[in-house]
Every structure is written in C-alpha cells, then in structure tokens.
C-alpha cells in the first residue's frame, strides 16, 4: 500500500506537542477513508521515541531524520528536508498542526513544492481525490470551504479542533531513517536562547481561561492605600485587586488569565493577555468572563469556546448572549466564592 497521507510532527526539545497527535489521528481517519497509508515525518535529535509513539497513535510508517542540525526547529534545514522527501515520495496530502513552526514549514513548502496551503482548518473531508477543508475567516464570523487543486495539498489543522486519537501500544509500523540535508555551517538561523517559565499557562494552549474586563475596577468600596492619590492610579489599583481574584481562580484551575481590550487599554493588565479580534483568538473548553461586557471585538476572540460562563453586574451586557451560564453579580463576590468552592476539588 502506498503511504500517501503525510503528517509533520511538531516537537520541541525532543517532546512532541500534543496537537501533533491530533494531526496523526486526523491523518489516520483520512487515510482509512481513501484507502491510503499514513506516514509521519519526525525531525529532531534523539526523537526515536516520538517515531514509535506516532505509530502507536496511528501512523503506518515514520520517516525519521535524527540529526543534531535538526534538534531545534529552524526553517531552512526543516523546509529543505521536507521538500526533498515530498518530491521523492509525492504524497497527496501533508498535514501540519497550526503552530508557529507548522505555519512556517507549510508556508515554505507551499513555495518549494509550488502548491497551495489550506491553513488553520477546523474540519476536513474527502471528495474524490481532494480534501475539502472548512476554515474560519473574518474573525470567525464566516466559515469558508476551501480546496486545493495541486498536490501535495498542504493543510494546517487548528490546534484542539480535532480530537485526540487513542494510543495503542501494540500497533506496529516501520521506521525509515532519512538523512538531514544541510550541514551546520550552511544553516544561518541560530537559536540564541530559550527559556521556559514555570508559572503561567499560555492563552492559546489553555483548556480553561478566566478573563477580566472593565468590571475588575468596579468596586468602589475598595479603598486604595493613601499614597495612591491619582484617580487613574486608584482605578488601576482596584482593577489589580480584581485580577488578583481572577488569577487565584485561574491558578487553581490550571487556567490562563485573559482580558478584554478595555482592560488592557486602561492599563489594568499587559497587552499580552488580550483576547479578541486585536488580541488572541482562543477556543478553550471553558471560558469564564468576569466583568466583561462582551463587545463584538472581544466576542471575535472567544465565541467558539465550548462552555462560556459570564459574570457581570449588568444583566443587559451582550456577553450574556454568548454565555451558557450567566451570573448577574459582582465578580469580586462570585470569583472568590467559586475559588473556595472548587478548592476541595484539588484533594484528589
């Protein structure tokens, strides 16, 4: 059987990203549908275990390039190797997770192989020998059905839009070793530094997000310390008390902290926390909006969350239109109560 559906595994420091397995699972389904085999591409250093896991998740074959020059993702050696393998193997479809690295690789492969990319798709079907993909456009307001008339059809899959496949450790497959194409002195991109931060979950990876808006500062009974005399700074101080409550709930849940544009514009919290059209677009399992009115620009960033809980003093706030569960009340009362109620959950 020819292996004509390919999946690029995204790994970092020898560990595959979970979303890579979502891509393998999606590739498996696609391959079964068209009666093809599934090949996983694993590039890195010391990544043989990833190759085996790819088989356990559904790959029939792994093309494994294990080489020091591939230890960190760098565009030129990765793209050169992918292009070479694709030219030799002529796959019909290559799937990538829509990660920073996946997007770079797909974009370069598109030019190298003179073919199209269907980026950030949330649904994938087969019609004849073509895949058709659904992808959100215009800030998620519209869904576009797209297809690609050339081969290989490059597709990047939205993170968390496709389910995780079952791990089957008795599955077998073949691992074929391939050589890296570029020598270290031909590679100009250098990774100068990397650091991992222990605390803090990134918004895009989070399965739960607790967000705060203007309402974080709306607690007149909180009296700022005497040394803060400026009215604007008093407001920011109040907002920080609100975000402290939000942060406590978030850390209990292993959640990320988000914010509305109004909150970042008012300097309550850095821009990096912003969820919305001009911030991060997120789709967690659970989104808890605290003191956020729900302007269209915020909705654009979170409307596809699975379950939305809104806490707001104003019963007419637009956020309630999106919410599965609404609480008309002050986040300064509700959030700490929720944190306390959930604390016993940690006992297991």
């Amino acid at each position: 059987m020819a292996n004509k559906i390919w999946v690029c595994i995204d790994q970092f420091k020898g560990e595959a990203l979970v979303t890579s397995w979502e891509a393998v699972g999606t590739g498996r389904k696609l391959a079964d549908e068209v009666g093809a085999g599934l090949t996983a591409l694993v590039f890195g250093e010391g990544v043989e275990n990833i190759a085996n896991t790819a088989i356990h998740y559904g790959a029939d074959e792994v093309l494994l390039a294990d080489d020091p020059t591939l230890a960190d993702f760098r565009p030129e050696p990765y793209a050169a190797l992918l292009a070479k393998l694709a030219e030799d193997g002529s796959p019909d479809v290559i799937l990538f997770p829509t990660t920073t690295r996946g997007r770079e690789l797909a974009g370069m492969a598109s030019v190298d192989l003179n073919t199209g990319v269907l980026p950030d798709v949330i649904e994938l079907d087969v019609q004849g020998d073509k895949v058709t993909a659904i992808r959100p456009v215009y800030a998620g307001k519209l869904l576009a059905r797209t297809e690609c008339s050339s081969k290989p059809q490059l597709v990047t899959l939205r993170v968390r839009a496709f389910g995780m496949p079952e791990l089957n450790e008795s599955r077998t497959g073949t691992v074929t070793k391939v050589d890296a194409l570029m020598a270290e002195d031909e590679i100009v991109t250098k990774v100068v530094e990397y650091a991992t931060v222990g605390a803090g979950v990134s918004l895009t990876d989070a399965s739960i997000i607790v967000s705060g808006g203007r309402g974080t500062s709306n607690r007149p009974q909180l009296i700022p310390p005497d040394e803060i005399t400026d009215e604007k700074e008093q407001e920011i101080w109040r907002a920080q008390q609100g975000f402290k409550l939000i942060g406590e709930l978030a850390s209990l849940l292993g959640a990320a902290v988000g914010a509305s544009r109004a909150a970042v514009d008012a300097n309550y919290i850095p821009y990096s926390a912003q969820v919305g059209q001009t911030g991060k677009v997120v789709a967690p399992d659970l989104y808890i909006a605290c003191g956020i009115s729900g302007a269209i620009q915020h909705q654009a960033g979170m409307r596809t969350s699975k379950v939305i809980v809104a806490i707001n003093k104003d019963p007419d706030a637009p956020i309630f239109k999106l919410a599965r569960y609404g609480v008309v009340g002050d986040l300064h009362d509700i959030v700490p109560a929720l944190t306390e109620a959930l604390e016993d959950r940690l006992s297991y």
Partner: protein, 265 residues
C-alpha cells in the same frame, strides 16, 4: 545603519464586524463594510518605526490591492513611513497566499536593496499567517515569525527576534536580509502624526506598479497562480446556546457552578 531599507507589508481589510453573507447568493457582501488597515499590521509598522528611530534608514510600505486602498496607506506614511509601493492590477485579483507572496516578492525585488521586511502575524480577514514564510521563501530571505521583540546588530547585519513558545520564549538570530512577522498585540501602535498629514498625501510619496511594471510570470499571479479556491462561504452558525442564569448568594452560585463545571473540568 543609516541606509537600512525596511519594508512593511500592509493589507487593507473590511472591518470583520461589518461584513455579512447574502443568504440567497452566498456571496460576501462587503460593500457596506468600511475598510481598515489590518490591525496586526499596525504592530508590524510600530516595530519597524522603532528600528528607524533608533538606527535610521527608511521604511517603504508594500501593498497589493486596488487603487481605493490609497487613503488608508497614506495613514502609514503619517505614522512615519517614507514611501508607498502599491501593486495594483486587475490580474492580481483573486490571489491566494501562493500567488500573493509571489507578487509581493516581485515587488520587493523591484524596490531593490531591501534588508528587512515586516509583516503582521496574520490578516483579520483570511487569517492564514502564510504570507510571511511564503514571501521569505520566494525571496530566499531568512525569517523569524511571530516575534514580539527585535534587536538589530547593525554592524553584523543580523537581527534577533524573540517569540513566545509553549511555556516560554526563544530568541532566534538570522542574518539580513530577512522577513519577520510580528505577533499581534506585542506593542502599542502609535497614532498618525497630524503635523505631517499634508506631506503624507503628496502625490510623489506613492508609486503604483501594474503587472507590466513587474517581472512577473502571468501563470503565477492572480487566479491562475492560485491553487486553492474558496468553494463556499457561510455565516458561522451562532451556536444556539441554552442560557441559564444562576441566582442566590455568591456561595450558592459558586456551589451550583462547581456542579455544572464538573464536566468541563
């Protein structure tokens, strides 16, 4: 690096909140929608301006699109850029990311002597994020995508870009020429400077190139150069959400939420 030549790619997009789909024809109705500069491109512009302030050099705006984009592109000049190159031709229309990056690359080649290209992370309409890597590949430039900070080593002619990655960050270094894409919300874009508005609207600040001005292969531009097509467009179904308001004291509400959220947690 006083002769540093930077390009900022700007896209003009319809405001997402103002577009709709005609239910009968299933076509995009954007006539009612006002246009704006793609918000992430403003972060790219701001980063380029910060480099110009520190090291000098000039900034060219590069856009592919119809002539009516002009007034918005002039805003980029009023922010501090030096010149506009608008690639405008009916035959450029209908381009997907492959044809778009090809055409933009031809524009960069025609501008000549470009050291550093800034793009926004993605556009608010198509949201592919594919233009920066594609552009770099056509030009054979180095690239760092999704950066939120940049450092230039003018003598070494290298840049270092910092980007957030899963649970941390990394800093990559590449020699110029290079393409960078700038992560959305990584800086606060400045407003236009009204004192230079008249200057920004002077005719000679803008060059318009058609396909005959560029060294393009007709097979690679517009619809004919685009392997991907959009076969259908539909309003995203606003999920009918069952809505339920929880009432009681904060403690009672918290207990109800705890039970309800058991699944999601």
């Amino acid at each position: 690096m006083a002769n540093l030549h930077m390009v900022v790619c700007l896209k003009v997009v319809p405001k997402p909140e103002e577009i709709r789909v005609d239910k009968k024809t299933n076509r995009l109705e954007r006539t009612d929608a006002r246009s704006e500069l793609n918000p992430p491109d403003m972060n790219a512009m701001e980063m380029a301006l910060s480099i110009k302030e520190r090291y000098g050099g000039k900034i060219s705006i590069l856009t592919m699109g119809p002539p009516y984009f002009e007034p918005l592109l002039r805003v980029g000049l009023a922010m501090g850029a030096d010149h506009i190159y608008l690639l405008s031709d009916r035959d450029f229309g209908g381009a997907d990311t492959l044809a778009t990056t090809y055409t933009l690359a031809k524009g960069v080649e025609k501008i000549e002597g470009v050291d550093l290209i800034f793009c926004g992370e993605e556009s608010s309409d198509g949201a592919t994020g594919q233009v920066p890597p594609g552009l770099a590949e056509w030009l054979d430039f180095n690239q760092i995508t999704m950066i939120n900070n940049i450092e230039l080593a003018p003598r070494k002619k290298t840049i270092r870009g910092r980007r957030e990655i899963k649970a941390g960050h990394e800093i990559l270094e590449v020699p110029l020429p290079a393409v960078v894409s700038v992560a959305v919300a990584s800086n606060e874009p400045r407003f236009m400077d009204y004192r230079i508005k008249d200057w920004a609207f002077e005719e000679e600040r803008m060059t318009v190139w058609s396909k005959d001005d560029l060294d393009v292969d007709a097979e690679y531009i517009g619809v004919s150069g685009s392997p991907t097509i959009v076969s259908d467009l539909a309003q995203a179904a606003t999920r009918e959400r069952k809505r339920e308001f929880l009432t009681g004291t904060p403690e009672e509400i918290a207990d109800k939420l705890k039970v309800i959220l058991q699944d999601a947690l």
